[in-house]
């Protein structure tokens, strides 16, 4: 963790809350804003630009963006600051941390700021799939911002070389592994190019969830108090993932790093990769070969969990600060700006209206890959999110990794994960 930024951020927040009452009435309301970066590209520059634009248009509010590391770092910082009494007013956190934030009493529902009809229309505008991880107990707790689904990227040159149609991505699991088999290049005992790659650090639960949805099972209920890690579909999913590495040998064995997966794709170490659509612009700028983007292949059905981060507004902030934070979040998710953000990063624009803007229409026409993640939303389900989310997720991820490294059979690993999740979640029912 970067301590300096953390200290600077907390210090800034502290100074603000102490200094605020002393400042004259017409001074702008200070709103500190913590955000993580989980994809490649100049995200910090883009966000700083937005904040500057907003501050110019709204002289009564001053947004101070603070880059706060990964999602995990950010929630650690935000909750530490919350416990010390002066959290950042606005933060982007994983939508799956919703229950944790509610249990810690750290955030306020967004509903209380929605007053006018325009506000209400704006709230209705988000894709319903993104609201699944933003609402519970009949309230809305987060505003969708950098949201995503998992998509499949493929290297068209590699497809051509392997005698496959470069315009046809795999549609089913069977095709996926058949293609991967052809795409895997072997030199004696060594592999110079793997057929496919599904990363297994950081977000292993997320990738497995995609496979599980495709195999016909969801991994948790909507209330966040029950998991279904040992359902047959989940076992089938993990078995498939493990077999690709250990039996079919079309996927690197063991654990594959989340962060270096795009680089592996650029370096042609893998011909296909599964990753967040948030990497779209990164791939577009860095891949030196023609590439395609597709919905994930299906088994029983198509599917992907949604992912990514929501805006959250801190409970321990003054009403003016909260109002300022709300206005910034609302400003940033207006169709034109949501479209711009989507073009600049590759994240899914959060509302239908954003895809109706001329800028976005033009972009999608020139770069059809940009519409894939939106089209996939039709098949998307909520991302795994429970009370004590980090702990439940760790139990799940540890066991997925145990299966991938070969130390546990998939069925046994998932049974262990389920038992652990049961133990953790029992008090919340």
């Amino acid at each position: 963790m970067d301590r300096r930024q953390f200290l600077a951020g907390t210090a800034a927040a502290t100074t603000l809350s102490i200094a605020a009452p002393a400042i004259a009435q017409n001074a702008p309301t200070e709103v500190s804003f913590f955000y993580p970066v989980a994809v490649g590209g100049p995200v910090t520059k883009i966000i700083d630009g937005y904040a500057a634009d907003f501050n110019k248009e709204n002289p009564d509010v001053k947004i101070t963006p603070v880059y706060s590391g990964t999602y995990q770092d950010t929630i650690a910082k935000v909750l530490t600051a919350h416990k010390s009494g002066s959290p950042p007013t606005l933060s982007v956190l994983l939508s799956t941390d919703m229950f944790t934030l509610i249990d810690e009493d750290a955030i306020v529902p967004i509903d209380s700021f929605v007053k006018t009809d325009a506000d209400k229309a704006w709230m209705q505008g988000f894709f319903p799939a993104f609201m699944l991880n933003s609402q519970t107990e009949g309230k809305t707790w987060g505003i969708p911002f950098q949201r995503s689904t998992i998509v499949l990227f493929w290297n068209k040159d590699a497809f051509k070389e392997a005698g496959l149609d470069p315009e046809k991505p795999p549609q089913t699991w069977a095709e996926h592994t058949a293609f991967a088999e052809k795409l895997t290049k072997r030199e004696g005992g060594n592999v110079t190019q793997w057929g496919t790659q599904i990363p297994s650090t950081g977000f292993s639960y997320w990738l497995l969830q995609a496979l599980a949805i495709e195999a016909g099972d969801i991994v948790a209920n909507q209330k966040g108090d029950t998991t279904y890690f040992d359902k047959p579909g989940v076992v089938e999913a993990l078995q498939y993932w493990v077999d690709m590495g250990q039996k079919m040998k079309v996927h690197a064995p063991g654990i594959v790093e989340w962060g270096t997966t795009p680089k592996d794709f650029f370096e042609k170490k893998t011909a296909m990769m599964w990753t967040t659509t948030g990497n779209l612009t990164n791939v577009k700028n860095n891949a030196k070969f023609p590439f395609g983007v597709a919905m994930l292949p299906s088994q029983k059905r198509r599917g992907s969990p949604t992912g990514g981060g929501n805006f959250n507004i801190a409970k321990k902030a003054t009403p003016q600060q909260q109002e300022g934070a709300f206005r910034f979040a609302r400003w940033l998710t207006q169709p034109e700006r949501a479209a711009r953000w989507s073009v600049e990063t590759g994240y899914v624009a959060v509302s239908k209206a954003a895809y109706e803007t001329p800028a976005m229409k033009e972009y999608v026409a020139s770069f059809p890959a940009a519409a894939v993640a939106r089209d996939q939303l039709e098949f998307a389900v909520a991302e795994l999110s429970t009370h004590e989310n980090q702990r439940v997720t760790k139990a799940f991820s540890d066991n997925i990794q145990a299966a991938l490294t070969g130390s546990k059979a998939p069925a046994a690993a998932l049974k262990d994960a389920q038992a652990e999740a049961e133990r953790i979640l029992k008090p919340y029912r």
């Binding site: 995990q72 690197a252 063991g254 004590e388 980090q390």
Partner: protein, 292 residues
């Protein structure tokens, strides 16, 4: 006001800044941890209450704790002897009058002054499968591909190597200082007697370095148990807890799960273990160390 009273006040005032820091960052947290370890974790809807030894019973039954402890013991066993031996070797080496001595000293010491996070990121790249530095070297020598940080068998050793690389240069400085303080008359006497280089090291330098070795050993043990930053950057304890060390686990329980009471109990266990080791080192080893 008497002079004595005045000078006492001045004395305390001079001590005050240091004392504030010592109390705020050392004594108070230690006492607070002890207190929190017998309470439950406070939640907005459930305030903390006294639970006695419940947290410690949970530790006893926690497989990840035991794995972290085992990992940590292996990590200590892997880093301590190797880094001390390396440090001694390097110090004896650069203590001699050889050409480029200053450069060699600087090169050995460099790992110590680099920021840990940067170092870990560089090593992350060395260990990358397929196109990482290590893979390219081993590949050129005809070895197959290894997923160093992604395999349960190699991940812990991979982070151990980074720690040794980092520690050895630091300890070398202490040895170098100790070697410089050994009187040159001893070397002269040894050479007059016709002692070989090895005999001189074994019979003269090595025994005289023992106080330094004890000091370095204590530091090495503490460092082995307070390792956390490399782990966070390189593996986050994975795959499947294969590189989870005690302090990393405490961090995870405390700042990812926000189970502060359990984290406090784990901290107490770690402190108790370190205290025990220090007791053995000072009480038993020190008596065997030759001081001039």
């Amino acid at each position: 006001m008497s002079d004595r009273f005045r000078s006492a006040i001045v004395g305390w005032l001079l001590l005050l800044p240091a004392m504030i820091f010592l109390v705020a960052f050392t004594h108070w947290p230690a006492v607070a941890s002890l207190w929190e370890s017998v309470m439950s974790t406070p939640k907005p809807r459930r305030p903390a209450r006294f639970v006695g030894a419940a947290n410690f019973e949970q530790i006893w039954a926690d497989p990840i704790f035991w794995q972290s402890l085992t990992n940590n013991l292996w990590f200590a066993l892997g880093t301590i002897p190797t880094s001390i031996a390396l440090a001694m070797l390097m110090a004896v080496w650069v203590n001699d009058r050889l050409p480029g001595r200053t450069f060699a000293r600087m090169a050995y010491f460099t790992p110590t002054i680099l920021p840990m996070i940067a170092v870990a990121n560089i090593w992350l790249f060395f260990f990358t499968p397929q196109y990482g530095l290590l893979e390219q070297i081993l590949g050129a020598l005809g070895f197959g591909a290894t997923n160093w940080l992604g395999s349960k068998d190699t991940a812990l050793w991979a982070v151990t190597v980074v720690a040794i690389w980092k520690e050895a240069g630091f300890f070398m400085i202490f040895y170098l200082a100790a070697l410089q303080s050994i009187s040159p008359t001893l070397a002269e006497a040894a050479s007059l007697e016709g002692a070989s280089r090895w005999t001189y090291f074994r019979r003269v330098q090595f025994p005289l370095l023992m106080p330094t070795t004890l000091f370095v050993l204590i530091n090495a043990v503490i460092n082995a148990f307070r390792m956390v930053d490399h782990i966070i950057v390189m593996t986050r304890g994975g795959p499947d807890n294969a590189t989870s060390l005690l302090l990393f686990y405490i961090y995870q329980v405390g700042f990812s799960f926000w189970d502060t009471a359990y984290a406090a109990a784990l901290t107490i266990v770690l402190l108790a273990m370190l205290a025990l080791i220090a007791f053995i080192q000072y009480g038993w080893l020190e008596r065997r160390v030759h001081y001039r």
